[in-house]
Symmetry: D2
Subunit: 302 residues, 4 copies
């Protein structure tokens, strides 16, 4: 396994030249474009790390799947999906097509901000703490925190997301205060992790909610199934379908260049390489995931 | 003239039953549905008032044409229309179709908020004062002020307009602070007038910028032409075309039930009757304007 | 007048370099890009011709206003506008946004094909003959006919219009056979005229339906008013508003480079110069019309 | 197995009351609303039939997956998906959002008609024969043919699909004659099958392209993977995501009430019950598939 991971990094690392890092905030624009890392956590408990695995990066959109899980735990599936969709993202990830009648994908920005408004908590601080604690528990890493430089940068460039938050309020897709829900969203995007953390999170999902190390059930199987379904259908923005046919693993990417991927009953996988294709997904990340899926025959249609 | 106005009120007043008053804020919902008023100011200086002409109501969207005039005075036609459109409203008046590439009608909410951001002034207070002063000068009524109850109500229900303001910022259609521009907009909507005030404003436009009473030029002819053009093309929301064919006078309506109308070289006209058709225009108001246009052969295609 | 027309041609002819001729069919692509012509017919009966006034060109979209007039004569205003709109064109002239619920501008391709289906006649041949006869009567030129080379070319590139015709059928905006209505449409677009013919047609409209030469009423005033209203609101594609503010005359353009323009109670005007701006209107044509409007103070907001 | 199928039919058959049969053609409107049938073919070769399994019905949209497979065989994956999308259906199944730049799902009507134009063959007859032969080979049933009554009915109500075919031509998504491609499409929709035939087709896909009875490879594994991917992402119209999360099996439905479903490495499944939900999928059919998936633990995220 270790050798396969290292070989795959060497084989694919040059593809970073085909992509571009996100530039809308300095913290992302300054990323090391040649950094590559991969981690695999086995559902039977072992783990492997390769490449620049000590690099930290922010969750960005990967956080959407974490808060969705928490919202379903807090509110139940029925309530959560009363105004959210189980279908692919309608339009682009930052679409403002928000009406009283439509349902939003929780993997779109609008849907994710709506999800943040559903997290239980007396204050935005309590809500983000609950999300952060879930990330820590899933990853087994209690050191995980928020990168406040990234958060401040995100906040400064958040006019569109602020508009989205007010449209959610206007269309009755948000109960509380729009700016508070947005704040929770921006903070969850700024949670800092490494590929090892992603692999551990993925292993919980791969193991249907049971911690591979402790054997403890920490998520209901039904919620895991929903999470993997949502990742399959809309985890990779507007190439989720193509990605699923190619790689065959439920995955969720972020503009920082990270991807969380799940090989059910086998592995949780985390990859990281900042340059993105025009859709917004890590280019080298996809190549490595495809390699791993092929080498271990993990494609869902194997 | 007086008789014609009074006859027209009597003939058309029952049509109020066909409409509904705007309900999104209490101040509009509580309007007297049977109130009807009309005023005509001659470009040679006389004026006529009929019906409930002492009733006060807020300008609402009628204010859009006032601030547009001020924005053109402040910035010139070229700058003002660099990001604004001279075409009809694209979609509905409260559309959120706001991109970097499209141009917005100044008669849409989005376009009007963008216009408010162009008004010169060191603070939102100074900007709204300048708009208010223009209304006072055009109408010759220095008592005109803002209805702060209406303003507060508008503010409480302004989630969609707040979203619009942030989208304008995101798409580079607004230089200053979005919430400040929105505040100017909400205040201009809350300026309180009577039909006589509207008729006087209309008479300035009918007289190509020269005050009919004093003979003083207070607006350049080119700006008047633009204002009347914009009113023709998009002054009556999504029935501007039909309205122009039927009535034949450049007009601008507001959801309070007022209409400002201009019979070039003849009259300024103000009408008021709160019940609106489904497009958002005063029903009785249109019937009265059509009557006046026919009686005095004012249709532009006469 | 003659001198003004000739001066205007000389002053503006070089602007042809700013435009491009339509290229979708050979007959249009091969047009003489330097040809310029203008004709004015007085509502009191005189006429002036300047430039390449003997050049022939096809009506193209100018025909839409002729068949609309005939459809209203055949069916009445109420029936004609039951499924047609009096508002500006929604989207582009060749939009396929055709649903059961929306109303189409008769100046869009879809609306115009729907109009053709309303023309009374036992066969497509009878329908196109009736349109052709109306053009001949309005222009006083019985030699006017169809350019069958252009018609055949149009037919070969009509996949989009054929799709539109079938969508009209699918959405109940067409009673008869879609391909027959399309055939009438393609033939009316191929009617061949000169600027003198356009000026004569315009003079009928300027004179509110009365032939300036014979004094005979050949069109009801109400239909003329509708025609001029439609031209104002949507005659110049997606710059109808700007055009109206600039030039101030109801006008209808075609991709051949012709424009039919109406100065109510004064003149009918025809201009011709093939190079078009990106919206699809003759560039030199607009400059000349603006000149004439200014020289004779014809702008509707004078 | 037999008992489970029969129990599931009894348990779920009453749900037919919640749906409505398709009514746009008489042949569908006249379907027996209480008919229910299910068939399962094991990848190791056995098969089970329950309910009204001798009922015949037309493939309708199920045929889209068959012709897609043939188009990929004929043209390769790269060429086939040059203008087709691997993502979910954009808008509704009969959307006319067809531009030069967008890519269409082969599960939308437009995409499917484009697919039909790619099938190799000298004539429409040869193309439909090749599709029909593929259905016969996959199902092992050489008696399968076209229901010409259904075909004629479809043809009479095909204005929208005809428009789509011409739009495909206009936007360079179709090489040959639009009406011929449409004819192939309408005929493939009219191919008549039973649930047993569907189950056999599904078993080929479940068995990754190898005939379970003969052990012969009749489809490349890569094409099978694509077909199952497309079914997962867009096989159930605008509830494909929800369906995948609930049932967890790649499936394709038709408005006749049939569903083709694939439990990889286990079973091919065919179900039939005409009443549809508002999305267009068989209601009872989904309940039965969900039952089977649960009973045999077939959900892809098991």
């Amino acid at each position: 396994m270790q050798q396969i991971l290292e070989d795959s990094i060497e084989k694919n690392r040059e593809y970073y030249k085909l992509g571009q890092v996100a530039t809308y905030i300095p913290a992302l624009a300054d990323a090391d474009i040649q950094a590559v890392a991969v981690a695999v956590t086995d559902t039977r408990g072992g783990s492997h790390l390769a490449g620049d695995y000590s690099k930290k990066f922010t969750l960005q959109s990967i956080s959407k799947i974490i808060s969705l899980i928490l919202a379903i735990e807090d509110n139940g599936e029925e309530y959560t999906f009363r105004k959210l969709s189980k279908e692919s993202i309608d339009g682009f990830f930052n679409s403002i097509n928000i009406t009283k009648d439509n349902k939003l994908s929780p993997m779109s920005n609008a849907g994710a901000i709506s999800v943040c408004s559903m997290i239980k908590g007396k204050s935005p601080e309590e809500k983000i703490d609950r999300i952060l604690n879930l990330v820590r528990m899933f990853s087994g890493n209690t050191d995980i925190g928020i990168d406040y430089d990234v958060y401040e940068s995100e906040k400064e460039t958040s006019n569109r997301n602020k508009a989205i938050a007010y449209l959610l309020k206007d269309t009755e897709k948000m109960d509380g205060n729009p700016e508070e829900a947005l704040d929770v969203y921006l903070k969850q995007c700024s949670i800092e992790v490494s590929v090892g953390d992603l692999a551990n999170i993925g292993a919980i999902l791969a193991n249907n909610g049971v911690n591979p190390y402790t054997g403890e059930r920490i998520l209901e199987k039904g919620i895991v199934r929903l999470a993997k379904g949502v990742m399959t259908v809309s985890g990779m923005y507007n190439e989720s379908g193509e990605y699923f046919m190619d790689v065959g693993l439920p995955s969720k990417s972020g503009v920082s260049g990270g991807i969380l991927s799940v090989a059910s009953n086998n592995f949780g996988i985390g990859v990281y390489s900042p340059p993105l294709n025009y859709i917004g997904n890590s280019i080298v990340g996809k190549y490595i995931l495809k390699d791993i899926a092929e080498k271990f025959d993990l494609h869902l249609f194997r």
